[in-house]
Subunit: 292 residues, 2 copies
């Protein structure tokens, strides 16, 4: 497939900085540009030397771009699109890397003219780190990227974005935006919410107990703190913008947790063991999926 | 410190098999023996060749032992102690590796004669694997082991068990049994319960959605399935035997989760972001503790 012409990375956190590494390593574009709202972030990007130019104005970054990758928090997407709209080149492809898709499609698509191709995307990869310096080219390796093109999307633009993520080492799947949001509510949003919540519970413990909890956190809690160290603004926007699917799944989860609470109170060992045997099976499913 | 004489490992899961590796590598005892209830497990232990003898009768394993390490599920401890009681050597030290301490001390101590020294212990280390073949000598490296000696415990016996875990590479702390159970309820028991519960919620989803969830589980859910693959019987016994501390902490957690649910429903982004910033701080505490 042809190289990209000029690429513009808008927002430069973990995902976009990792993607910029790929573009540089594989020489996927003729020119790469980055923009970030904060001057300190722009200075950091400059010092990393992974894009050709870092623009102080968003207009300068996008105006002659053939591909724009939006890597800003979901809640900032609409205002970014409105800001860049007057400067977009005919035929430009826009994609994003946000963790929710339905609300984004509903909000952004009506704003875009016919000759701008928007391919909503979600590379399912991440660490708890954020910021331009956290990016690394192996981040996407072997992971899934889900694209949620809507009815009007150009096939050519879709193939181009698929090609881009495959160059990053990802497996690409196509999915309906609403279905994507339901799947991700369970695989990612609820686990994060629960981790944030349980770590939050610990922050409210009396001081001595809190100190011991941190000291002896080798068990499951340590994994939870890693998840709960993820970017606060990004996750705030995820929960605000995927609230329907999150609330539905959260309702089911709280029901199940309450049933467990009852089993413990009534010393119902049989129910507990039965559940724990069932959950072990799911793990086997995941391990075998990874070995495919 | 002097070597151990004869050591007997009763139960041979992840912890005891890893500890047996240490005894073999460092030649810590004159003789090592193992017993497990199931014949298939005993055959497996024999094939691993990490103890001198595998006994078919528990009596033969314990009768001339100087140290007995109980590595059976917490719920089986009482019946094991009752079974071995008539065969115990004067001055024998018994220790255990169970994840809960208070109920164990309350149950076992009244059963033991004066010339038997019981040092309750909890090496905080583990993986989701179980069984004799899952053990490896590095399991304990750099982790904490908590001993909860009660008032009558012999200082010499306590030092001996401390020495044993230090040989395994552990840092050893002394703690009150009840306090141990509260700390572990948060750092380990609740995170496991939540992981079991959320993975359980997934097992009840309609089939297609469940398949997709397993496929795209790279986010937080993947970590949860690992935790929820832990040994079912061991964890059943943990929840049944630490129910007070678990129910107290679970109550606080469900309160906090319900508050989050409300924040999402009311689109209260400010509260969400505030919490997520707070939880990030806890992670920093854990990282700096590990660097000490």
């Amino acid at each position: 497939m042809d190289k990209f012409g000029k690429v513009s990375f808008i927002g430069f956190g973990l995902i976009n900085s990792s993607l910029a590494h790929i573009f540089k390593l594989k020489k996927l574009a003729n020119k790469t540009s980055a923009f970030s709202r904060r001057i300190e972030t722009r200075d950091k990007i400059r010092s990393l030397n992974i894009v050709d130019i870092v623009n102080d104005d968003i207009e300068d970054s996008v105006k002659d771009s053939d591909l724009i990758v939006l890597g800003v928090p979901v809640g900032a997407m609409e205002s970014v699109i409105k800001k860049i709209l007057p400067y977009l080149k005919k035929g430009v492809i826009i994609t994003d890397v946000g963790s929710i898709k339905k609300k984004l499609v509903d909000t952004l698509v009506p704003l875009l003219p016919k000759d701008v191709y928007f391919i909503p995307g979600h590379p399912i990869a991440g660490t708890e780190k954020s910021g331009p310096e956290s990016g690394f080219p192996e981040l996407f390796n072997g992971r899934w990227c889900i694209l949620t093109p809507y009815s009007d999307t150009s096939q050519k633009a879709r193939d181009k974005i698929k090609f881009m993520w495959e160059q990053a080492g990802m497996k690409v799947a196509i999915m309906d935006a609403e279905y994507h949001d339901r799947v991700l509510a369970i695989t990612s949003h609820i686990p994060h919410l629960v981790a944030f919540s349980i770590v939050g519970t610990v922050t409210e413990l009396e001081d001595q107990l809190k100190t011991e909890v941190i000291k002896y956190s080798a068990g499951g809690f340590r994994d939870f703190t890693r998840i709960a160290a993820s970017d606060p603004v990004m996750w705030r926007d995820v929960f605000l913008n995927n609230s329907d699917a999150v609330l539905e799944m959260l309702g089911r989860f709280i029901e199940d947790l309450t049933a467990l609470q009852k089993s413990i109170r009534w010393q119902d060992g049989e129910s507990l063991e039965k559940l724990f045997i069932k959950t072990r099976e799911i793990r086997k499913g995941i391990i075998s999926e990874e070995q495919d």
